[in-house]
Amino acid sequence: MSGPALRASGLGKRFGRSVALDGVDLELPEGASLAVLGPNGAGKSTLLRLIAGLARPTSGSLLIAGTPAHHPAARARVGFIGHASLLYASLSARENLLFAARLQRVPEAAARVAGWLEAAGLARVGELPVSHFSRGMSQRLAIARGLVHDPSLLLLDEPFAGLDPRAASRLAAQLASLRAAGRTLLLVTHDPRRAAEQCDRAIVLAAGRVAYAGRGDQAGAEALERAVLAASDAA
Protein backbone atom coordinates (compact mmCIF):
# COMPACT_ATOMS: atom_id res chain seq x y z
CA MET A 1 0.00 0.00 0.00
CA SER A 2 1.07 3.59 -0.53
CA GLY A 3 -0.40 7.08 -0.39
CA PRO A 4 0.48 10.46 1.07
CA ALA A 5 3.11 10.45 3.80
CA LEU A 6 0.34 11.07 6.32
CA ARG A 7 -3.45 11.07 6.14
CA ALA A 8 -5.74 11.60 9.14
CA SER A 9 -9.52 11.51 8.77
CA GLY A 10 -11.83 12.42 11.63
CA LEU A 11 -9.03 11.63 14.07
CA GLY A 12 -10.12 11.64 17.70
CA LYS A 13 -8.50 10.72 20.99
CA ARG A 14 -10.03 10.67 24.45
CA PHE A 15 -8.40 10.02 27.80
CA GLY A 16 -11.34 9.03 29.95
CA ARG A 17 -13.73 11.99 29.83
CA SER A 18 -11.13 14.39 28.54
CA VAL A 19 -11.08 15.00 24.77
CA ALA A 20 -7.53 15.49 23.50
CA LEU A 21 -8.30 15.45 19.77
CA ASP A 22 -11.66 15.82 18.08
CA GLY A 23 -12.19 15.16 14.36
CA VAL A 24 -8.81 16.22 13.00
CA ASP A 25 -8.41 15.94 9.21
CA LEU A 26 -4.92 16.19 7.83
CA GLU A 27 -3.05 15.23 4.67
CA LEU A 28 0.66 15.62 4.13
CA PRO A 29 2.35 14.66 0.85
CA GLU A 30 5.85 13.14 0.76
CA GLY A 31 8.54 15.78 1.29
CA ALA A 32 6.18 18.39 2.78
CA SER A 33 6.76 20.05 6.12
CA LEU A 34 3.98 20.92 8.53
CA ALA A 35 4.13 23.02 11.68
CA VAL A 36 1.58 22.28 14.40
CA LEU A 37 0.95 25.17 16.76
CA GLY A 38 -1.51 25.94 19.51
CA PRO A 39 -1.78 26.70 23.22
CA ASN A 40 -0.88 24.19 25.93
CA GLY A 41 -3.36 21.33 26.06
CA ALA A 42 -4.52 21.87 22.48
CA GLY A 43 -3.63 18.29 21.52
CA LYS A 44 -0.34 18.87 19.66
CA SER A 45 1.71 16.24 21.48
CA THR A 46 -1.19 13.79 21.43
CA LEU A 47 -1.40 14.18 17.65
CA LEU A 48 2.32 13.48 17.35
CA ARG A 49 2.18 10.41 19.60
CA LEU A 50 -0.77 9.02 17.64
CA ILE A 51 1.17 9.44 14.39
CA ALA A 52 4.19 7.75 16.00
CA GLY A 53 2.00 4.76 16.88
CA LEU A 54 2.51 5.24 20.62
CA ALA A 55 -1.24 5.53 21.18
CA ARG A 56 -4.32 4.36 19.31
CA PRO A 57 -6.99 6.78 18.07
CA THR A 58 -10.37 6.58 19.76
CA SER A 59 -12.07 7.47 16.48
CA GLY A 60 -11.21 8.14 12.85
CA SER A 61 -8.34 6.76 10.83
CA LEU A 62 -4.66 7.54 10.61
CA LEU A 63 -2.50 6.24 7.78
CA ILE A 64 1.26 6.52 7.26
CA ALA A 65 1.98 5.96 3.55
CA GLY A 66 -1.26 3.98 3.35
CA THR A 67 -0.57 1.80 6.43
CA PRO A 68 -2.42 2.22 9.75
CA ALA A 69 -0.16 4.19 12.09
CA HIS A 70 -0.21 1.49 14.74
CA HIS A 71 1.14 -1.19 12.37
CA PRO A 72 4.85 -2.06 12.82
CA ALA A 73 5.47 -1.27 9.13
CA ALA A 74 4.21 2.29 9.72
CA ARG A 75 6.41 2.68 12.80
CA ALA A 76 9.44 1.75 10.66
CA ARG A 77 8.81 4.87 8.52
CA VAL A 78 8.59 7.24 11.48
CA GLY A 79 11.37 9.00 13.36
CA PHE A 80 10.23 10.50 16.68
CA ILE A 81 12.01 13.25 18.57
CA GLY A 82 9.95 14.01 21.63
CA HIS A 83 9.97 16.44 24.57
CA ALA A 84 12.30 14.03 26.34
CA SER A 85 15.44 12.62 24.78
CA LEU A 86 14.46 8.89 24.93
CA LEU A 87 18.08 8.29 26.00
CA TYR A 88 19.52 6.20 28.86
CA ALA A 89 21.77 8.30 31.08
CA SER A 90 24.04 5.42 32.09
CA LEU A 91 24.73 4.34 28.51
CA SER A 92 27.26 6.12 26.32
CA ALA A 93 26.21 8.06 23.22
CA ARG A 94 27.41 5.19 21.01
CA GLU A 95 25.55 2.58 23.10
CA ASN A 96 22.35 4.62 23.01
CA LEU A 97 22.49 4.88 19.22
CA LEU A 98 23.43 1.23 18.87
CA PHE A 99 20.49 0.21 21.04
CA ALA A 100 18.12 2.39 18.98
CA ALA A 101 19.53 0.94 15.74
CA ARG A 102 19.03 -2.62 17.00
CA LEU A 103 15.46 -1.81 18.05
CA GLN A 104 14.87 -0.51 14.55
CA ARG A 105 16.63 -3.54 13.04
CA VAL A 106 19.09 -1.38 11.12
CA PRO A 107 21.56 -3.48 9.09
CA GLU A 108 25.28 -2.86 9.75
CA ALA A 109 24.26 -0.92 12.85
CA ALA A 110 27.78 -0.25 14.17
CA ALA A 111 28.91 1.47 10.98
CA ARG A 112 25.70 3.51 10.72
CA VAL A 113 26.02 4.57 14.35
CA ALA A 114 29.59 5.76 13.78
CA GLY A 115 28.33 7.87 10.86
CA TRP A 116 25.54 9.43 12.92
CA LEU A 117 27.88 10.24 15.80
CA GLU A 118 30.16 12.01 13.32
CA ALA A 119 27.22 13.86 11.76
CA ALA A 120 25.99 14.99 15.18
CA GLY A 121 29.47 16.23 16.09
CA LEU A 122 29.64 13.78 18.98
CA ALA A 123 32.24 11.30 17.73
CA ARG A 124 34.84 12.65 20.17
CA VAL A 125 32.56 12.08 23.16
CA GLY A 126 30.89 8.93 21.83
CA GLU A 127 32.10 6.74 24.69
CA LEU A 128 30.99 9.15 27.44
CA PRO A 129 27.78 8.38 29.38
CA VAL A 130 24.90 10.61 28.36
CA SER A 131 24.61 11.78 31.99
CA HIS A 132 27.73 13.91 31.28
CA PHE A 133 26.11 15.68 28.29
CA SER A 134 24.80 19.25 28.13
CA ARG A 135 21.21 19.89 26.97
CA GLY A 136 22.46 20.79 23.49
CA MET A 137 24.57 17.65 23.17
CA SER A 138 21.69 15.48 24.40
CA GLN A 139 19.38 17.11 21.87
CA ARG A 140 21.84 16.43 19.02
CA LEU A 141 22.08 12.83 20.14
CA ALA A 142 18.28 12.56 20.45
CA ILE A 143 17.95 13.77 16.86
CA ALA A 144 20.55 11.27 15.70
CA ARG A 145 18.58 8.62 17.58
CA GLY A 146 15.41 9.61 15.75
CA LEU A 147 17.18 9.44 12.38
CA VAL A 148 19.27 6.31 12.90
CA HIS A 149 16.92 4.13 10.83
CA ASP A 150 16.59 6.69 8.03
CA PRO A 151 12.85 7.40 8.50
CA SER A 152 10.86 9.09 5.74
CA LEU A 153 8.56 10.92 8.19
CA LEU A 154 10.15 12.85 11.03
CA LEU A 155 8.09 13.96 14.03
CA LEU A 156 9.57 16.66 16.25
CA ASP A 157 7.94 17.79 19.49
CA GLU A 158 9.29 21.24 20.44
CA PRO A 159 12.88 20.36 19.56
CA PHE A 160 14.08 23.95 20.11
CA ALA A 161 12.93 24.06 23.74
CA GLY A 162 15.79 24.75 26.13
CA LEU A 163 18.45 25.15 23.45
CA ASP A 164 20.86 28.11 23.49
CA PRO A 165 20.90 30.29 20.32
CA ARG A 166 23.93 28.52 18.84
CA ALA A 167 22.46 25.04 19.36
CA ALA A 168 19.08 26.27 18.03
CA SER A 169 20.62 27.64 14.81
CA ARG A 170 22.55 24.39 14.35
CA LEU A 171 19.30 22.44 14.74
CA ALA A 172 17.51 24.79 12.31
CA ALA A 173 20.23 24.14 9.72
CA GLN A 174 19.95 20.39 10.30
CA LEU A 175 16.18 20.48 9.78
CA ALA A 176 16.62 22.54 6.60
CA SER A 177 19.01 19.92 5.21
CA LEU A 178 16.56 17.13 6.09
CA ARG A 179 13.82 18.96 4.19
CA ALA A 180 16.16 19.46 1.26
CA ALA A 181 16.84 15.70 1.33
CA GLY A 182 13.12 15.11 0.79
CA ARG A 183 12.06 14.01 4.27
CA THR A 184 8.56 14.77 5.43
CA LEU A 185 8.61 16.86 8.61
CA LEU A 186 5.99 17.46 11.25
CA LEU A 187 7.13 20.03 13.79
CA VAL A 188 5.26 20.87 16.97
CA THR A 189 6.22 24.32 18.19
CA HIS A 190 4.88 27.29 20.16
CA ASP A 191 6.80 29.75 18.01
CA PRO A 192 5.10 31.01 14.78
CA ARG A 193 8.39 32.52 13.53
CA ARG A 194 10.14 29.20 13.90
CA ALA A 195 7.24 27.52 12.08
CA ALA A 196 7.56 30.04 9.23
CA GLU A 197 11.30 29.37 8.97
CA GLN A 198 11.05 25.60 8.97
CA CYS A 199 7.76 24.62 7.33
CA ASP A 200 5.79 25.22 4.15
CA ARG A 201 2.39 24.71 5.79
CA ALA A 202 0.94 25.03 9.27
CA ILE A 203 -2.09 24.21 11.37
CA VAL A 204 -3.20 25.66 14.67
CA LEU A 205 -4.93 23.33 17.10
CA ALA A 206 -7.34 24.62 19.73
CA ALA A 207 -9.15 22.29 22.14
CA GLY A 208 -8.33 19.30 19.96
CA ARG A 209 -9.68 20.78 16.70
CA VAL A 210 -7.96 22.37 13.73
CA ALA A 211 -8.66 26.10 14.19
CA TYR A 212 -6.47 27.27 11.30
CA ALA A 213 -4.81 25.63 8.32
CA GLY A 214 -2.68 27.53 5.86
CA ARG A 215 0.78 28.37 4.63
CA GLY A 216 3.53 28.06 7.17
CA ASP A 217 6.17 29.95 5.17
CA GLN A 218 7.13 33.62 5.54
CA ALA A 219 4.21 34.73 3.31
CA GLY A 220 1.68 33.17 5.69
CA ALA A 221 3.50 34.14 8.89
CA GLU A 222 1.25 37.05 9.82
CA ALA A 223 -1.99 35.08 9.42
CA LEU A 224 -0.44 32.23 11.36
CA GLU A 225 0.61 34.50 14.20
CA ARG A 226 -2.92 35.94 14.40
CA ALA A 227 -4.40 32.42 14.44
CA VAL A 228 -2.07 31.36 17.26
CA LEU A 229 -3.00 34.43 19.31
CA ALA A 230 -6.71 33.84 18.72
CA ALA A 231 -6.38 30.19 19.78
CA SER A 232 -4.45 31.19 22.91
CA ASP A 233 -7.08 33.82 23.80
CA ALA A 234 -9.86 31.26 23.31
CA ALA A 235 -8.05 28.78 25.55
Binding site: P72, L86, S90, E95, A100, L103
Partner: protein, 221 residues
Protein backbone atom coordinates in the same frame (compact mmCIF):
# COMPACT_ATOMS: atom_id res chain seq x y z
CA UNK B 1 14.67 -11.95 18.06
CA UNK B 2 17.19 -9.09 17.57
CA UNK B 3 14.89 -6.77 19.53
CA UNK B 4 14.68 -9.31 22.37
CA UNK B 5 18.49 -9.51 22.50
CA UNK B 6 18.86 -5.70 22.26
CA UNK B 7 16.58 -5.15 25.26
CA UNK B 8 18.24 -7.96 27.24
CA UNK B 9 21.66 -6.42 26.49
CA UNK B 10 20.52 -2.91 27.43
CA UNK B 11 18.90 -4.02 30.71
CA UNK B 12 21.89 -6.10 31.78
CA UNK B 13 24.42 -3.38 30.90
CA UNK B 14 22.48 -0.64 32.71
CA UNK B 15 22.04 -2.93 35.72
CA UNK B 16 25.72 -3.91 35.73
CA UNK B 17 26.69 -0.22 35.82
CA UNK B 18 24.31 0.81 38.59
CA UNK B 19 23.76 -2.51 40.41
CA UNK B 20 20.95 -0.76 42.29
CA UNK B 21 18.24 -3.27 41.40
CA UNK B 22 20.16 -6.43 42.27
CA UNK B 23 21.55 -4.83 45.45
CA UNK B 24 18.05 -3.91 46.63
CA UNK B 25 16.64 -7.35 45.74
CA UNK B 26 19.47 -9.19 47.42
CA UNK B 27 19.45 -7.10 50.56
CA UNK B 28 15.70 -7.43 50.88
CA UNK B 29 15.58 -11.20 50.35
CA UNK B 30 18.46 -11.74 52.79
CA UNK B 31 16.69 -9.59 55.37
CA UNK B 32 13.53 -11.66 54.91
CA UNK B 33 15.56 -14.86 55.47
CA UNK B 34 17.14 -13.44 58.62
CA UNK B 35 13.79 -12.18 59.96
CA UNK B 36 12.28 -15.64 59.45
CA UNK B 37 15.26 -17.26 61.11
CA UNK B 38 15.02 -15.12 64.23
CA UNK B 39 11.22 -15.13 64.43
CA UNK B 40 10.87 -18.93 64.36
CA UNK B 41 10.89 -20.37 67.88
CA UNK B 42 13.47 -22.90 68.99
CA UNK B 43 16.08 -22.22 66.29
CA UNK B 44 16.53 -24.70 63.44
CA UNK B 45 14.34 -27.77 64.00
CA UNK B 46 12.77 -30.41 61.74
CA UNK B 47 9.62 -28.31 61.81
CA UNK B 48 11.31 -25.11 60.65
CA UNK B 49 13.18 -27.06 57.96
CA UNK B 50 9.84 -28.41 56.71
CA UNK B 51 8.55 -24.88 56.21
CA UNK B 52 11.83 -23.70 54.67
CA UNK B 53 10.73 -24.01 50.98
CA UNK B 54 7.73 -21.76 51.59
CA UNK B 55 9.90 -19.21 53.39
CA UNK B 56 12.47 -19.32 50.58
CA UNK B 57 9.82 -18.61 47.95
CA UNK B 58 8.33 -15.76 50.01
CA UNK B 59 11.79 -14.17 50.02
CA UNK B 60 12.02 -14.71 46.24
CA UNK B 61 8.60 -13.14 45.59
CA UNK B 62 9.39 -10.06 47.70
CA UNK B 63 12.72 -9.63 45.88
CA UNK B 64 10.99 -10.05 42.50
CA UNK B 65 8.39 -7.38 43.33
CA UNK B 66 11.17 -4.89 44.03
CA UNK B 67 13.03 -5.75 40.83
CA UNK B 68 9.96 -5.78 38.59
CA UNK B 69 8.86 -2.34 39.77
CA UNK B 70 12.31 -0.95 39.06
CA UNK B 71 12.57 -2.62 35.65
CA UNK B 72 9.92 -0.30 34.20
CA UNK B 73 10.42 2.77 36.37
CA UNK B 74 13.87 3.21 34.77
CA UNK B 75 12.10 3.30 31.39
CA UNK B 76 10.15 6.39 32.49
CA UNK B 77 13.34 8.47 32.74
CA UNK B 78 13.63 10.54 29.53
CA UNK B 79 10.50 8.78 28.21
CA UNK B 80 12.70 5.84 27.19
CA UNK B 81 9.66 3.54 27.20
CA UNK B 82 8.36 5.43 24.15
CA UNK B 83 11.71 4.82 22.46
CA UNK B 84 11.26 1.09 22.95
CA UNK B 85 7.60 1.14 21.90
CA UNK B 86 8.59 2.81 18.60
CA UNK B 87 10.38 -0.35 17.51
CA UNK B 88 8.77 -1.67 14.30
CA UNK B 89 8.20 -5.20 15.57
CA UNK B 90 5.44 -7.07 17.33
CA UNK B 91 5.69 -5.65 20.86
CA UNK B 92 5.56 -9.16 22.26
CA UNK B 93 9.31 -9.29 21.52
CA UNK B 94 9.80 -6.29 23.79
CA UNK B 95 7.95 -8.21 26.51
CA UNK B 96 10.21 -11.23 26.02
CA UNK B 97 13.33 -9.05 26.19
CA UNK B 98 12.23 -7.42 29.44
CA UNK B 99 11.16 -10.80 30.89
CA UNK B 100 14.52 -12.37 30.00
CA UNK B 101 16.39 -9.52 31.70
CA UNK B 102 14.20 -9.67 34.81
CA UNK B 103 14.62 -13.45 34.94
CA UNK B 104 18.43 -13.20 34.69
CA UNK B 105 18.72 -10.47 37.35
CA UNK B 106 16.31 -12.25 39.70
CA UNK B 107 18.21 -15.51 39.12
CA UNK B 108 21.47 -13.93 40.29
CA UNK B 109 19.80 -12.66 43.48
CA UNK B 110 18.12 -16.04 44.03
CA UNK B 111 21.38 -18.00 43.74
CA UNK B 112 23.06 -15.96 46.48
CA UNK B 113 19.94 -16.01 48.66
CA UNK B 114 19.72 -19.82 48.35
CA UNK B 115 23.31 -20.21 49.58
CA UNK B 116 22.68 -18.03 52.64
CA UNK B 117 19.35 -19.75 53.21
CA UNK B 118 21.00 -23.21 53.20
CA UNK B 119 23.52 -22.03 55.80
CA UNK B 120 20.95 -20.35 58.05
CA UNK B 121 18.44 -23.22 57.95
CA UNK B 122 21.10 -25.95 57.89
CA UNK B 123 19.88 -27.48 54.63
CA UNK B 124 22.02 -29.69 52.37
CA UNK B 125 21.09 -28.00 49.09
CA UNK B 126 24.41 -28.72 47.35
CA UNK B 127 23.38 -32.31 46.58
CA UNK B 128 20.23 -31.16 44.76
CA UNK B 129 21.63 -27.89 43.39
CA UNK B 130 20.99 -28.59 39.70
CA UNK B 131 17.44 -29.87 40.22
CA UNK B 132 16.76 -26.98 42.56
CA UNK B 133 18.07 -24.57 39.92
CA UNK B 134 15.60 -26.09 37.44
CA UNK B 135 12.67 -25.64 39.83
CA UNK B 136 13.71 -22.10 40.76
CA UNK B 137 14.25 -21.28 37.09
CA UNK B 138 10.78 -22.54 36.12
CA UNK B 139 9.09 -20.83 39.06
CA UNK B 140 10.90 -17.58 38.35
CA UNK B 141 9.96 -17.71 34.69
CA UNK B 142 6.26 -17.75 35.61
CA UNK B 143 6.86 -15.03 38.19
CA UNK B 144 8.80 -12.83 35.77
CA UNK B 145 6.50 -13.32 32.77
CA UNK B 146 3.27 -12.27 34.44
CA UNK B 147 5.26 -9.87 36.64
CA UNK B 148 6.77 -8.07 33.65
CA UNK B 149 3.32 -7.70 32.11
CA UNK B 150 1.82 -6.19 35.25
CA UNK B 151 4.89 -4.04 35.96
CA UNK B 152 4.28 -2.46 32.55
CA UNK B 153 0.62 -1.91 33.48
CA UNK B 154 1.43 -0.54 36.94
CA UNK B 155 4.24 1.79 35.88
CA UNK B 156 1.83 4.39 34.49
CA UNK B 157 -0.44 4.34 37.54
CA UNK B 158 -0.10 6.75 40.46
CA UNK B 159 0.56 4.10 43.11
CA UNK B 160 2.69 1.69 41.12
CA UNK B 161 4.54 0.28 44.17
CA UNK B 162 1.18 -0.77 45.64
CA UNK B 163 -0.50 -1.61 42.36
CA UNK B 164 2.00 -4.25 41.24
CA UNK B 165 1.62 -6.59 44.26
CA UNK B 166 -2.16 -6.14 44.18
CA UNK B 167 -2.32 -7.18 40.54
CA UNK B 168 0.38 -9.81 40.66
CA UNK B 169 0.06 -11.78 43.89
CA UNK B 170 -3.30 -13.47 43.10
CA UNK B 171 -1.90 -14.70 39.80
CA UNK B 172 1.17 -16.15 41.47
CA UNK B 173 -0.83 -18.80 43.35
CA UNK B 174 -0.29 -21.60 40.77
CA UNK B 175 3.39 -20.65 40.39
CA UNK B 176 3.94 -20.74 44.14
CA UNK B 177 1.98 -23.97 44.53
CA UNK B 178 4.14 -25.72 41.96
CA UNK B 179 7.41 -24.15 43.06
CA UNK B 180 6.97 -24.73 46.82
CA UNK B 181 5.80 -28.34 46.35
CA UNK B 182 8.66 -29.14 43.97
CA UNK B 183 11.20 -27.51 46.32
CA UNK B 184 9.75 -29.37 49.33
CA UNK B 185 9.99 -32.68 47.48
CA UNK B 186 13.60 -31.97 46.53
CA UNK B 187 14.66 -31.06 50.07
CA UNK B 188 12.82 -33.98 51.70
CA UNK B 189 13.57 -36.81 49.26
CA UNK B 190 16.20 -35.44 46.89
CA UNK B 191 13.93 -36.41 43.98
CA UNK B 192 12.13 -34.15 41.55
CA UNK B 193 8.34 -34.56 41.80
CA UNK B 194 6.85 -34.50 38.31
CA UNK B 195 3.36 -33.18 39.15
CA UNK B 196 4.43 -29.74 40.50
CA UNK B 197 6.95 -29.40 37.67
CA UNK B 198 4.13 -30.04 35.20
CA UNK B 199 2.07 -27.36 36.93
CA UNK B 200 4.99 -24.94 36.57
CA UNK B 201 5.49 -25.80 32.90
CA UNK B 202 1.81 -25.30 32.06
CA UNK B 203 1.55 -22.05 34.06
CA UNK B 204 4.73 -20.67 32.48
CA UNK B 205 3.49 -21.50 28.98
CA UNK B 206 0.09 -19.87 29.58
CA UNK B 207 1.56 -16.73 31.17
CA UNK B 208 4.20 -16.33 28.47
CA UNK B 209 1.79 -16.77 25.57
CA UNK B 210 -0.96 -14.55 26.99
CA UNK B 211 1.50 -11.82 28.01
CA UNK B 212 3.19 -11.93 24.59
CA UNK B 213 -0.17 -11.42 22.90
CA UNK B 214 -1.52 -8.60 25.08
CA UNK B 215 1.69 -6.61 25.57
CA UNK B 216 0.98 -4.51 22.48
CA UNK B 217 -2.09 -3.06 24.21
CA UNK B 218 -0.26 -2.62 27.52
CA UNK B 219 2.33 -0.32 25.92
CA UNK B 220 -0.37 1.86 24.34
CA UNK B 221 -0.81 5.27 25.96
Amino acid sequence: MSVLLAILWKDLVTEWRSRDRIAAMLLFSLLVVMVFHFSLPGGVTKQTQASAPGLLWIAYVFAALLGLNRSFSIELENDALAGIALSPVDRGWIFLGKTAANWAILGAAQAITACVFALVFDLALAAVALRLALVVGLGSLGLCSVGTLFAAVAVRTRFREVMLPLLLLPLLVPVLLGAVRATTGLIETGALAWAPVQLLLVTDAIYLIVSFLVFDYVLDE
